[in-house]
Symmetry: C2
Subunit: 288 residues, 2 copies
């Protein structure tokens, strides 16, 4: 029997611990300090076992999942760098990868650190909102080192499949962070920007699906996202600048009164979106 | 037996015709010119009856639903203004109200025109995508005239309930258009702006829920939305200008490197969103 230790039983960690139960011959250990979370994990069968003994869990784990915000991951690696089981695969789940991969350099050669980012989440947090199906259909991104063992990459692929992910995307931390600035971080900045409108509360009763969808993620975990944005500020700032320009250009088109121009512009954007949907579905088909 | 005639069996009209079947003692007549749509309506039982005879349907209808884009509604009212049944309630479903209410002034006093905007939609169009449940939980906005009959307002409330709407919001066309510029139109402009990013197609494999939700409506019906944006350009331009400023202010916060400031700013926006969710749910509870 081998062990997978999942550190941090919040929304993501709790969902991973649930979803991994029954995976091959692994025993799933959930690790968390807060007593209430531990009790909840035990009472609801999240993980095969739940403990607050971090050191023992680190020492016994063949696979370690760090489900913490970036700085806590960095601190954890520094604290336990000499305690991981030789040959262990250590991974994380956080939304930026360069800073985490940098920090993992403190680990001895006997430990293989491969960054992970399963691209799913909810606008609520905590173990009580965790779901074994949270990652169904999501992309699972990995950022291996040049020295990562192929068998560990294969193991992560099987783990991603167990979580229900649609595919595994293998990339560099730099490429991950640059792209995620657009596909995730900028979407969150847009959502909070919309909610800063002074007239928002006058609009109760007038929200449709587009408002609910575009602002859903605005109720974000502030300390986590402050870290994520700050650790990726250069890439994020570039995306936001492009977005401001695109938005401004649409405002000018609306103000111009030139319907043909506005229609042509909308046609370009809508066609791009339809093509993106098509490519996404094709990727989905190919992964089955 | 009284008649409700639904003109234009697209996504919205088809959904309304389906959902209204069985409503009180009304017979539901779907009206459409395109033969293929008519055939689909008949084969799939959308409406009690489907016809391409507009004039007969206008003459026989106690309630008329115009499910067309704005200009087509305006043209329809002008064309058939002298053919509506005396005492008829005429309504529409389109996303701007001032221009439509203006156009309805051509109707004789014997016809009561009350604007409607059931706030639901999908990013796909046509009768084949229509759903009797499309309006479940949606707000149903009405813009009556000062002279509208109370019994017609009551009738629209019962119709909204039959559609499954969560509430009926009674307002003026001007207020509707000003608010909708924010809660709907600006969300669509944001979505298309995001899809204009030159690097979008490099991001396949990296999309999470926030990207899919924020860009869902970008695959829009171009002629329809060109009309909606153009007929509400002043209000929309004002909202977009505020949104650009809010987005810019977030970019400055990200670039500043001042984490405390960024966290404080995120905290304000996230709290506003949580309060908005709370107020929405409270409204939902009150309407039950």
């Amino acid at each position: 029997m081998k062990n997978i230790a999942v550190f941090g039983l919040g929304l993501i960690g709790g969902s991973i611990a649930s979803a991994l139960m029954g995976f091959e011959d692994y025993h799933i250990i959930g690790v968390n300090r807060a007593g209430e979370t531990l009790r909840y994990a035990r009472e609801n069968g999240i993980g095969d076992e739940a403990t607050d003994d971090e050191l023992t869990a680190v020492k016994s784990a063949d696979v370690v999942f760090l489900c913490y915000p970036p700085q806590k991951i960095i601190d954890f690696l520094e604290k336990y760098k000499n305690d991981f089981k030789p040959g262990a695969l250590v991974t994380d789940v956080c939304g930026i990868k360069t800073a985490v991969m940098e920090a993992s350099r403190c680990l001895p050669d006997t430990v293989d650190f491969i960054g992970s980012h399963p691209m799913a989440g909810r606008e609520v947090s905590g173990i009580k909102n965790s779901l074994p199906t949270l990652f169904k259909g999501a992309h699972y991104i990995i950022t291996p080192r040049a020295t990562s063992k192929p068998e560990n990459i294969e193991l992560l692929k099987r783990i991603a499949a167990q979580l229900g992910c649609m595919d595994v995307v293998n990339t560099t931390p730099e490429k991950h962070d640059s792209i995620i600035a657009y596909t995730s971080q900028a979407m969150h900045i847009m959502a909070v920007s919309v909610c800063d409108d002074p007239y928002m509360f006058d609009c109760l009763g007038y929200e449709g699906g587009s408002f609910r969808d575009c602002t859903r993620v605005a109720a974000l975990d502030v300390p986590l996202w402050t870290e994520l944005f700050s650790l990726n500020s250069k890439a994020l700032s570039e995306v936001l600048e492009r977005l401001e320009k695109n938005l401004h250009s649409y405002r000018l088109a609306v103000e111009s009164g030139d319907k043909d121009y506005l229609a042509a512009k909308l046609n370009v954007s809508a066609s791009r979106k339809k093509l993106m949907n098509f490519e996404h579905e094709r990727g989905d088909d190919m992964s089955r």
